[in-house]
């Protein structure tokens, strides 16, 4: 596995559960959205028109739209950053059509980078939730009840 993909995988395995446990509702919604996108991604890569993976691009557009909606609904800076990265992700699909000199390899590399930016924006969201003085969406862990069960 290439080092960038390995780094992405490790980051996702750390950041997503952390954001789910320590984040507020906005962070949880983003985690659910990103997990859905990651899980469905491999199944959407088969259909392509020319060089463009149409269904995958459509999925990215949906993710982008949800991020836009989240960033308008919630008062979070990190959502703006993640939405910006996702916008560039969508633009990379458009660039593949408009720029014949752009190779598929370069396009995929750019998408990995934008995905990483979105993921680390989510990590910043946990810190921002603390700065905003809000409680995590998850209830506090009751160690005693765990020990009893």
């Amino acid at each position: 596995m290439p080092s960038v993909q390995l780094f992405f995988l490790c980051s996702a395995l750390v950041i997503l559960p952390l954001a789910w446990m320590k984040g507020g509702h906005a962070e949880r919604a983003a985690v659910a959205l990103l997990v859905a996108a990651y899980v469905s991604g491999p199944f959407l890569q088969d259909i392509r028109v020319g060089r463009v993976l149409v269904v995958l691009a459509l999925g990215d557009v949906i993710v982008w739209a949800v991020f836009v909606w989240l960033s308008l609904k919630h008062d979070r800076w990190w959502l703006l950053l993640a939405t910006a990265a996702q916008s560039l992700n969508v633009l990379s699909h458009v660039a593949l059509v408009l720029t014949p000199s752009l190779t598929a390899r370069e396009n995929v590399a750019a998408q990995w980078v934008f995905g990483l930016v979105s993921l680390y924006a989510l990590l910043l969201g946990i810190a921002e939730r603390r700065l905003a003085g809000e409680r995590p969406a998850a209830p506090p862990l009751d160690r005693r009840s765990i020990a009893q069960s």
Partner: protein, 212 residues
């Protein structure tokens, strides 16, 4: 400066402001004797004999934790406007949150759900905690479950993004430009590096290209 209390001790002392020891025990899932022990040790550490005095010291020193209902109420309700039920059943005015600092029943500030007597109450500690949280949310004007309401605990200096949708969309566009500019710089640096490597050793650059 008084010694720092453990989180549990502080929690117990603060909850004595409007809960009995028995209720706190049910809430935290510990025995009543343990609650008394925590409160006693907290009083000892703070060098006071009474719970009220311990509460007063905690408030003076600003010790608090994020889910602290008393700290939340003290911030939300102005000092002179806190209403408390008196033991005789009449509504009385307290001058500050500290005056609610007693462990008897009916000591809760106005707006906070008072639990039923312990016999009629659910034994689920999680439900109790949720009840306190939702009551605190209602008091602060935040809908239950909505964590994006007024920021009473926000760190000083933190500012939420501006509210207008147009402004936010512009900010997103600006951030997209910044990210792409940074990416262009990084890609330029990497390609420069490859060019330099290629100048000295063309084979290694081919290796990088095929292995990357």
């Amino acid at each position: 400066m008084p010694p720092r209390l453990s989180a549990r001790q502080e929690q117990c002392v603060r909850l004595t402001a409007f809960r009995t020891d028995k209720e706190i025990a049910a809430l935290l899932g510990i025995s009543e004797a343990t609650v008394k022990k925590h409160v006693h040790e907290a009083c000892q550490r703070l060098g006071v004999n009474r719970r009220k005095a311990a509460l007063a010291l905690l408030d003076q020193n600003g010790q608090g934790y994020p889910n602290d209902p008393m700290a939340e109420m003290a911030r939300i309700v102005p000092d002179a406007a806190i209403q408390g039920d008196r033991d005789d059943g009449q509504i009385g005015r307290a001058t500050s949150a500290l005056e609610l600092g007693r462990s008897g029943r009916g000591a809760g500030p106005d707006g906070v759900d008072r639990p039923e007597p312990s016999g009629a109450r659910s034994s689920d500690p999680g439900a109790e905690r949720r009840s306190i949280d939702s009551a605190t949310d209602r008091a602060s004007g935040v809908a239950p479950g909505d964590l994006d309401g007024p920021r009473t605990n926000a760190v000083p200096g933190y500012r939420a993004p501006p509210g207008g949708p147009i402004v936010r969309l512009i900010l997103i566009a600006v951030l997209a430009v910044v990210i792409s500019a940074m990416l262009v710089v990084v890609v330029g640096m990497v390609s420069d590096f490859h060019r330099v490597v290629d100048r000295f050793d063309p084979k290694s650059d081919q290796g990088l290209a095929s292995g990357g």
